[in-house]
Structures are given as structure tokens and as C-alpha cells.
Symmetry: C2
Subunit: 109 residues, 2 copies
């Protein structure tokens, strides 16, 4: 199933705490550039850019060019694949996962 391959990328992308923090930051601001994000973090712009690149590969962020800036925004659709995997593997034991999955899926239409 294709969702599994995608889940692979999503889990790998979410495996790093700094990347999850970046995602959370992006969630708060809605949109931000790598330089902007790096300002509030103890790492260089290049490091942030690398991580954003990985997140983009997983489909978790998309970019928009505005003049000389590149703005990143979160695109949470792929997370439902990861949730789907967890729901499938852990589903036999708990239907809370299924409920959460429905909520997440619904929020993205």
C-alpha cells in the first residue's frame, strides 16, 4: 500500500525533535522563512534550511517564494498516513486511534 511508503518518510521526518519543533513553530506562525526561524533557535540558518528540506521531502511543508524570501508553511496531509499506519497496527487494541485519525482527516477535508 502506498500509504506505508509515505508513512515511512513522515515517521523519519518526525523522528527528530528539532524538526518537530520547527513544525510546531511553523504551526504557530502559519508561515515563515528559514532565516526567520533560525533567528529564534540556537542553530544556523543552513541547519534550519536542511531540516526544512527534509520536511518538504516528506510533504509536511510547502514553500512559496515572495521576492527574495522563501516562505515555508505546514501541509499536514501526510501525517494522516502515519496515523493510518498506527491505527492499523495498533487498531486491534484501541479505537481511540481511529477516532483521532478521523478527526485529523476531517480537519484537512
Amino acid at each position: 500500500m502506498a500509504a506505508v511508503d509515505r508513512a515511512d518518510a513522515v515517521f523519519a521526518a518526525l523522528a527528530d525533535g528539532n524538526r518537530r519543533r520547527l513544525l510546531a513553530l511553523l504551526g504557530e506562525r502559519g508561515e515563515a522563512s528559514a532565516t526567520e526561524l533560525a533567528r529564534g533557535l540556537p542553530v544556523t540558518r543552513q541547519a534550519v534550511q536542511k531540516q526544512l528540506g527534509l520536511l518538504a521531502d516528506a510533504g509536511l511543508v510547502s514553500t512559496r517564494r515572495d521576492g527574495r524570501e522563501v516562505l515555508y508553511r505546514p501541509t499536514p496531509e501526510p501525517m494522516s498516513d502515519a496515523v493510518a499506519w498506527m491505527a492499523e497496527v495498533g487498531g486491534q487494541w484501541d479505537d481511540r486511534l481511529a477516532a483521532l485519525e478521523r478527526r485529523l482527516a476531517r480537519s484537512r477535508g
Copy 2:
């Protein structure tokens, strides 16, 4: 929030494809030893044992001793912390994204 720390461990544990395969296998069989699992995989028992150890650290499997065998079984409860993180952050994104859409739409006229 404590759930975040736990989510950290869970995401890290699920980041590896072989570990997820192990979890899926355990889900199918219900219970299995490291040696048993390694028989069907192209890796050594020790490698499987290491991975199961990581899964156990994340609370995703538990062990039971039966004679000279150690049987592993899945305990997917901790996955709900990871799902909770995704639901929380994802939900936040939705709000922000909606606001951003409105703002962009307005500014574009």
C-alpha cells in the same frame, strides 16, 4: 506536557522501517521471540534484539519469559501520545492556515 516527551521516544522508535516491520510482525503473531522473528528476516538475532530493546524503551513492546525463551508482545498504548501530538499540532495548523488564507485573500483583493 509529559505526553510530548513520550511522543519523542515513540517517534524515534517508529522512525526505522525495520522496527515498524517488527511491530507489524508482532501484531500479526501476537507474541514471538527475537530468534523466531530473526528467522524470517535478513538480519541476525542480535540486530533484532537491539531493535526490540529500543521498542521496549519506548514502551511499544513488553516481554515475558517462558523457560529459556523471551517472548515479546506489542503494547501500542504509547502510540496515542504520538497521535495526540499530531492531532494537536495539526489542528493548530488548520486554524493558522485558515487565518492565513483569509489574510492572503484579503490582501490580494
